[in-house]
Assembly symmetry: C2
Amino acid sequence: MYTLAKPTTTFLDAVLTPGELKKLSCDELAHLAAEIRQEIVHALAKTGGHLASNLGVVEITIALHKVFETPRDHILWDVGHQAYVHKMLTGRRHRFDTLRQFKGLNGFVSPSESEHDAFVAGHSSTSISLAVGMALARDHFGEDRKVVAVIGDGGLTGGMALEAINHLGHIQKGVVIILNDNEMSISENLGGISQYMKRIKETFFYKDIKQKIDFIEEHLDEARLNPAVWQLIEMVKKEAKDRFDTPGIVFEKLGINYSGPIDGHDVKAVVQALEAVKDKTTPQLLHIITQKGKGYGPAEADSIKYHGVPAFALEPALTEKSEPVTAGKPKAKTYSDVFTEALIDVAAFEPDLVAITPATAEGSGLVKFSKVYPERFFDVAICEQHAVTMAAGMAKCGLKPVVSIYSTFLQRAMDQVIHDVAIMNLPVLFGIDRGGLVEDGETHQGVYDISYLRAIPNFTVLAPRDAVELRNMVFTAVKEGAGPVAIRFPRDKAVSASELEQLKERLGPVKSFSPVPCCKWEVLEPGDGKNIILAYGSMVEIARRALPAMAGEYGVSPMLVYARSAKPMDENLLKDLLGRSQARIVTLEEGVMAGGFGAGVMEFASQLRFQDPCRRLADVSVIALPDQFIEHGARPILLDMVGLSEAALTRKLGPFFTAC
Amino acid sequence: MYTLAKPTTTFLDAVLTPGELKKLSCDELAHLAAEIRQEIVHALAKTGGHLASNLGVVEITIALHKVFETPRDHILWDVGHQAYVHKMLTGRRHRFDTLRQFKGLNGFVSPSESEHDAFVAGHSSTSISLAVGMALARDHFGEDRKVVAVIGDGGLTGGMALEAINHLGHIQKGVVIILNDNEMSISENLGGISQYMKRIKETFFYKDIKQKIDFIEEHLDEARLNPAVWQLIEMVKKEAKDRFDTPGIVFEKLGINYSGPIDGHDVKAVVQALEAVKDKTTPQLLHIITQKGKGYGPAEADSIKYHGVPAFALEPALTEKSEPVTAGKPKAKTYSDVFTEALIDVAAFEPDLVAITPATAEGSGLVKFSKVYPERFFDVAICEQHAVTMAAGMAKCGLKPVVSIYSTFLQRAMDQVIHDVAIMNLPVLFGIDRGGLVEDGETHQGVYDISYLRAIPNFTVLAPRDAVELRNMVFTAVKEGAGPVAIRFPRDKAVSASELEQLKERLGPVKSFSPVPCCKWEVLEPGDGKNIILAYGSMVEIARRALPAMAGEYGVSPMLVYARSAKPMDENLLKDLLGRSQARIVTLEEGVMAGGFGAGVMEFASQLRFQDPCRRLADVSVIALPDQFIEHGARPILLDMVGLSEAALTRKLGPFFTAC
């Protein structure tokens, strides 16, 4: 079915706008679906992207555009990574070869890209809240538009989606919720709700009870009953029907009208179901069953692996065993790998260590940990808030919880970090993955963590310069366990990963650990001692690589300091450096400037002034991310764009250090 | 029943420990409950505090201590303001006259106060997540303790509580959830879940269907049916019973065993219900109906007014009409009052303005708005996340949403502020109440907002110096509506409130508005131009009052600048001031130092250096909150403790400005 040659796309070629799609019959739409599926596999084989989830929503997307009218009607794609088909059908098909590339098509929905994208999405579980807001606005203005939220069963585990359902059930506004149920979120989907959904599909109690009552009736017919009994039987039947003729009783009880479940790969069925709920003025939930990876063998068989894929080999002989092309080469270890392996090795001698993830076990590599220590691994679904507070409860009772979480998602648990972890000063370790710039773009940039964690009392905020440091930081944080510790690392190959491998081979997994002096910084290059670079985390290596060019092109040899901790500061070293009144200190970090590492250095300097008001201190200048949302694109491109690449730093610091 | 004389407390005097309580019979416990109720009213008449909610949980608390064994067993009080009875019964009765005073009893649960307080609480909806974490730890260690979460129907609307229930339903650990259902959270409780709970109490469908089936059976008896029909009828009855003989079907479907509802003011019934679930190793939800304010007429009649009370008059003749004693005097207007009145007045000519609150309509004064514009007022229950994203959806569709929220609660929606409001650059106005220090203590300090909002692109972050400014900022933000704006104000009487009243009287509510140049700062006192104070928001007035003492005691007359915005900076003015190379600039703010207003000033200075590396700039020193959690106590006491009072500033700045 899949070939390297571009597939034929007769119907797809004819559908340049949603308006043209509307003219097709349901049979033709089914053909269109098949073509789209081929085109997606073909396109993603080159660019990479979210394969399985998009193959799952082909028919739903077609049906939505058949029944609804964007941009007048608002379709809100929860998370937004399953909108490829939507993008193809709304004028962006010709740009698919640029998907997720710098300046190319965004991998998520993006109103700046098309008026058919009603709102930005990238994080989970926001769509119903948005829909509620939009429906209230519509009714306020007396408009006619429909508001549709498309949310997965994974997104439904997120607390804010449940808050929104609860509110919608109360206000009874006309919103259509499409529950795209593929029985998994990014990780395996967990929780009572998903099990409940599963039961919905397995047994329809009403059908049972109805059959039985029908049977009773049949026999009663022979039994010449008095009319009162007949009436009662009718009432029981009606009540049973009214109250239980729905597998979605939980939703019904919350005030949301449930219909379904229906087959999400039957275009006609989906179109009919949408037509049935479209004009309702009360909340509607349409439960649609889909299969992730539908139509592409390998992705059907392993939709987790094919959730997000790099460019992959596309061959006619492609089978379930096929691997993304990168799998052939020896894979460079990422910081995520190093983190997970460190956890596994520490867990061997720390029996009370447990690992927690909010549905990102695959992305963070934690799935390996779960294989080795299944009973000490907790995937709580897309519930960052619950994950953090649960960890606090565990720590209070003597466990050593490690929360593995992406920087961008930890934003959702900031209150829990403050209120439940930090106030109690509990030893919870946060492994903050994807800290810094990521290719996914503005919704996913992990650039606020340094700032907001530094503001919280009791926190230690670390960032390793390389793989060895990351491993030892994990070890040290778990061993010392004095209070909350955050270790942030970028989404990238780990610096010095091969040295780490050699170390582990030589000394074994346990002896290769050595404690890190977490709040001491390290002078890596003494330099001239007057021009001073304080680099945090990922910036250490980039700055180190810039030194030769600074020396060669500008004749300057700055001191380079590896700042392990953004909090606490290495006060002794800083006092020394700030005391060099003629020195210029420059701080580097891969995070927003406001309140970041550099701000911390300046805050410290400002306090020294109160101690010794007449003393002149060295000037501090901060290099960090600009105050804007950063688009998508490969990390090296983005780093250069914002001035944090080796070359950009040389260009900026050479003249600065040599100016006077 | 209530007198100024201390009530007799025969039983309460005998119960010094939970162990002694266990010896009492259920009848004796009922007497104890009556005594506790009197003592609470009596104590709170002097100190103020959360009256109604504590009167509601007297019997529940007694029963919990009768059946469970703290501190071995963990009782987690959600929100924590309803733990007064618990405190009385765990050795803290003699300290009740210090309730909520500086260095006195905390108004919330606090493990630093007693080993019987299993965890800190202050924010809503955390208890089930904590319980899940503690139960997992218990089972990991093979311990025998029970874990009990006591949560209100209000707390249950919070997303993270729903996340936790979902997870608990999946992992099936032994946790007892006490649902204390008084049909309201702080505000009137909203949402599908609460309506569902109400229906549970109104109709038990099963009883209905059972009666009808029984009736059918009776008549069928005459009808000589064949045995197969009989069998089927029995099956229908059994299935109906199994599946629907529970008003808690929603919980059951999510994997939580439901029992109840039971009368929460019948000690014996509560004790028996607790005994029944105590030793279960699966999740249990016990639904208990209570009445807020139970036993105290005025509080029963108006539990919202008596949610949190100041000290009040306690008279034998106290009736439903009694008011807290403060009500007699002309009440000084708070910033909350000024904010709400401004909203009401702007709403008169801005028909698209809507106000949103996450269950804090009373505390924030927004209830007045809801009376004038009920159709433009949205209380979404304790759902900060949903509130913010719903507002984003509204703004996208042309409404002008204003989110009124406490600083400490906005932490829970930080991700939504970034992901749904700021990325889209939507004109949502955040009225951030209780920004700065509050008497409630560490869980409620509103001290992070300046830092984390300043880090977010597209945001304007304002703080008024007085009532007139606050009013005009609201007006300006709504009129201009260019992007997200935060206006933070303290929990206190508003400076210049009477001037504002005169202004409104003279010009009328509409003409009294005038636009504010939001990003221009104002030089209030030119001073010597060398010693410069940049004060943000609430610190302006405090600094202004400190000027005479600085002049008198130290002979220094600093310039005083009112910094309206922490973001953006007033770049022109700052360039001028920073350019005075011999000047000393001191920044003042009522927030954490890390990343706050002062950090912003230094970040700006550090960027000027890159433009002109050889220029010497004025030094900047930051005065802000220390890096620690701040305890409870009256705001003036706390401000002085942290060095932000008039006197403390004089003592610090006088010597600093005159040092050399």
